[in-house]
């Protein structure tokens, strides 16, 4: 009668791998046939919740029971409030390496320094490595690194020692690396010098110190001829040198979030603008635009730029935007995002004077090619209305204006009506309110 248990192990493991971890472990209570199967499943998704002693024992037992077979995906995640014993975690990683692994995702917080075993850095089958380790325990790239299958490397919130030496140890030994993400909120940085040299790298994200006190300058040197996507969030005083990057770069994301009042962003902003001059899509924060304007950063002609997205508009306003738009000849889509999280603290102020200079320049994209404008978290207040009014009056070839309202249900109808009544200069323009 029991047909399912007669299926071979491989099939049962396939079925268990499609279940959530909780359901998978539950199958061990079904019958003797199923008792230890769950341990050999190919994805191990271990997110622990409450009882960390029990959890650590559970994971030990899992590795005891597991038959030696490659782990496709090992995801270990523990919360900040209940840290785990680092020697246990090291043991698990050794066990994982012994089985063989393709994707490793470690989000841990520990009570003491975590020493990642060196076998992790010499794993032949590892394709995706994501480390999110408590930043009090810096990770050192060891002397012998060889990760021939590694395509994706994310180091988030990890104090990874990133000096020139470790770059030299890391990049030549990851021959097919395509996606690199470095996000650090390190407390003490000492003259970091990051050298990224990879001929296969397609996506690069560097986010450092978004809102901490000023730190020593970060020197970034990028030599990645196949780079398609680049994101940088950093500080004044950084320098970013590009070599060979421009030709394939399609999308960039730039953010200088902190307003220190000193306005020393000139160097880094110039470097970056020059480096990304050929992009087609640009995401930039409103604060960055202000820095560009205040420092009179020379912006090259961004002739390929089709999509411009400005986020975090709610804190400042769009004073810097005309400065950038003036350099975009073929812009077709403009997206403005106020942050919905901070929609309460809306300091947005529409300053029409900054746009006058642009109007003198009749040959700019606002009049020639801007076809779509999308606005997120539109609150319907006076300042926001003024902004929409302005765009409708000036964008001569606008075809589509999409507005996502963020307001109470009762007010939506009123705001919608008001929006639809606004005069528009473009005959084909369609206004959609969502």
């Amino acid at each position: 009668m029991d047909r399912i248990s007669r299926l071979p192990d491989e099939l049962l493991l396939l079925i268990i791998s499609l279940l959530s971890m909780k359901d998978a472990v539950r199958t061990s209570t079904l019958s003797t046939r199923w008792r230890h199967l769950y341990a050999s499943v190919s994805n191990l998704d271990l997110r622990f919740s409450v009882d960390h002693v029990g959890f650590m024992d559970f994971v030990d037992r899992l590795f005891f029971l597991r038959k030696r077979c490659i782990i496709e995906n090992f995801h270990l995640c523990c919360s900040r409030s209940l840290p785990l014993d680092p020697s246990r975690i090291e043991g698990w990683i050794c066990a994982v390496m012994w089985h063989g692994i393709r994707e490793l995702d470690l989000t841990v917080d520990t009570i003491a320094k975590l020493n990642l075993p060196t076998s992790l850095f010499t794993c032949k089958t590892l394709e995706v490595l994501k480390l999110h380790v408590d930043y009090d325990c810096p990770i050192e790239i060891p002397a012998n690194v060889y990760l021939p299958s590694l395509k994706v490397l994310h180091l988030t919130n990890t104090a990874c020692i990133l000096d020139g030496d470790s770059g030299e140890r890391l990049f030549p030994n990851c021959p097919i690396l395509e996606d690199l993400v470095i996000i650090t909120y390190v407390r003490y940085l000492i003259g970091y010098d990051l050298r990224v040299c990879s001929s296969t790298l397609k996506r690069l994200t560097i986010v450092t110190n978004a809102f901490r006190e000023p730190r020593d300058p970060f020197q970034v040197f990028i030599n990645a001829p196949n780079l398609v996507y680049f994101k940088y969030c950093g500080w004044e005083g950084d320098t970013c040198a590009f070599v060979n990057v421009q030709s394939l770069l399609v999308e960039a994301d730039i953010d200088f979030p902190k307003y220190s009042g000193n306005n020393h962003y000139l160097q880094i902003a110039t470097d970056l603008m020059r480096g990304i001059s050929k992009v087609q899509t640009l995401c930039i924060s409103a604060m960055t635009l202000i820095h560009l304007k205040e420092n009179l950063v020379p912006i090259p002609l961004l002739k390929n730029l089709k999509i411009l997205r400005v986020f975090h508009c709610e804190m400042q306003g769009l004073e810097g935007l005309p400065y950038l738009i003036g350099r975009c000849d073929s812009l077709e889509t403009l997206v403005l995002e106020m942050d919905s999280d901070r929609a309460m603290f809306d300091l947005f102020k529409w300053v029409p004077e900054t746009w006058h200079a642009l109007e003198e320049l009749r040959v700019n994209c606002l009049f020639t090619c801007l076809k779509k404008i999308e606005i997120f978290t539109f609150k319907g207040n006076e300042e926001h209305m003024k902004m929409v009014e302005y765009f409708l009056k000036t964008a001569s070839v606008l075809e589509n204006l999409e507005i996502h309202i963020w307001a109470k249900y009762e007010e939506r109808l009123e705001i919608t009506n008001e929006l639809l009544m606004l005069p528009r200069v473009s005959k084909d323009c369609r206004v959609t309110v969502v």
Partner: protein, 348 residues
């Protein structure tokens, strides 16, 4: 062998492939339909089988005529190139609506034919049936016999301080933690540590040998817990040395060590007296017979080896550091007291 021919007369335009299931019955199937299944395709193209009634392609055991019918229906639908993804999805959803027993049979048949799309589809369907249900419900749905004891059912989920393997492993972890602390401490007291090392090696070895004699007799759970806490708090009592453990395992296997020290019974009890507060050698509490104990110890030892598998690198590290200070190998005798113990050749 009786041969039931289930051929249907079809117009001469189409070409057919002949398939035989294990019960002996032979079917005739349109070529393009049957070729959608890779195994049939290969048999036909590479081995030339199935082109006539006399040489049908022999299908694997699990594929009975009913299942073959279903599989061919699936092939018949999907081999048509023009269909949209949405159409295919809708068909699939309807296709797998059948009782669970049949679904299992179909999975088995698809698997033996190595027909991946159908295997994935059926397994996903089975997973969807299983997810979210309690064990009781799953057992009902699939008619599973409930042959586990209540205790066995709780195994992976409860706090397993009772599992002897986990307990021994925890001891290894405690040692390793101390070792990590020692590593970060300044190295001037290296010589002192060596002396302490020796004693813990003996203890570790007796651990590997399946436990020495426990002179204190049966302990209660409470005492065990107290001891563990005391052990955790005891500071420089023993330095870590899961390295030593591994060195013992690895080195002895490589035959590098001349002799491994094994304490005599009298020595054992002396050592145990001093170490009882630190290590629960309370094997008799496990309620396991010696054979089981030995097997568990072997398992733990294997597992510990895996967990510490970066030992070769650390060995190299330590040996390179050893240029600066004298590193005494484990087989060496540091202090006179050890000489008193007999040395035996021991193979693990």
């Amino acid at each position: 062998m009786s041969k039931g021919v289930l051929a249907v007369v079809k117009p001469k335009m189409k070409s057919y492939i002949w398939l035989q299931t294990t019960d002996g019955s032979i079917q005739q199937v349109e070529e393009e339909v049957a070729m959608f299944c890779p195994v049939i395709c290969r048999e036909f193209l590479q081995k030339g089988m199935g082109s006539s009634k006399n040489y049908p392609i022999l299908l694997p055991e699990r594929v009975n005529p009913a299942m073959l019918g279903l599989i061919l229906d699936y092939c018949r639908f999907h081999q048509v190139p023009g269909r949209s993804n949405k159409e295919r999805k809708t068909y699939d959803e309807r296709f797998i609506r059948m009782d669970t027993q049949r679904l299992c049979e179909l999975t088995s048949a698809a698997y033996s034919l190595k027909f991946k799309p159908l295997v994935d589809l059926t397994c996903r369907a089975l997973a969807r049936i299983i997810e979210g249900k309690t064990s009781e419900e799953i057992r009902d749905t699939f008619h599973l016999a409930d042959d586990l004891t209540e205790e066995e059912k709780l195994e992976p989920l409860r706090n397993i301080t009772d599992d002897p393997r986990i307990r021994r492993l925890n001891r290894l972890y405690a040692k390793k933690r101390k070792e990590l602390k020692e590593r970060d401490k300044p190295k001037d007291n290296w010589v002192e540590e060596e002396h302490v090392d020796e004693r813990s090696v003996d203890d570790l070895l007796s651990f590997i040998n399946g436990g020495g004699k426990d002179t204190k007799g049966v302990r209660t759970m409470k005492n065990k817990k107290k001891n563990r806490r005391r052990k955790e708090q005891a500071k420089d009592s023993t330095s870590s040395n899961s390295d030593e453990l591994n060195a013992a395992c690895v080195a002895s296997n490589e035959g590098n060590i001349d002799h491994i020290l094994v304490p005599t019974p009298s020595e054992t009890s002396k050592l145990h007296d001093s170490f009882d507060s630190l290590f629960d050698e309370s094997d008799s509490d496990d309620g396991l017979d010696p054979a089981m104990k030995e097997q568990l110890d072997r398992e733990v030892e294997d597992f510990a080896r895996i967990l510490n598998s970066n030992w070769p690198e650390r060995k190299r590290e330590i040996l390179s550091l050893g240029n600066e200070r004298r590193l005494v190998p484990i087989s060496g005798n540091v202090n006179g007291s050890i000489n008193r113990l007999p040395s035996l050749n021991k193979t693990l």
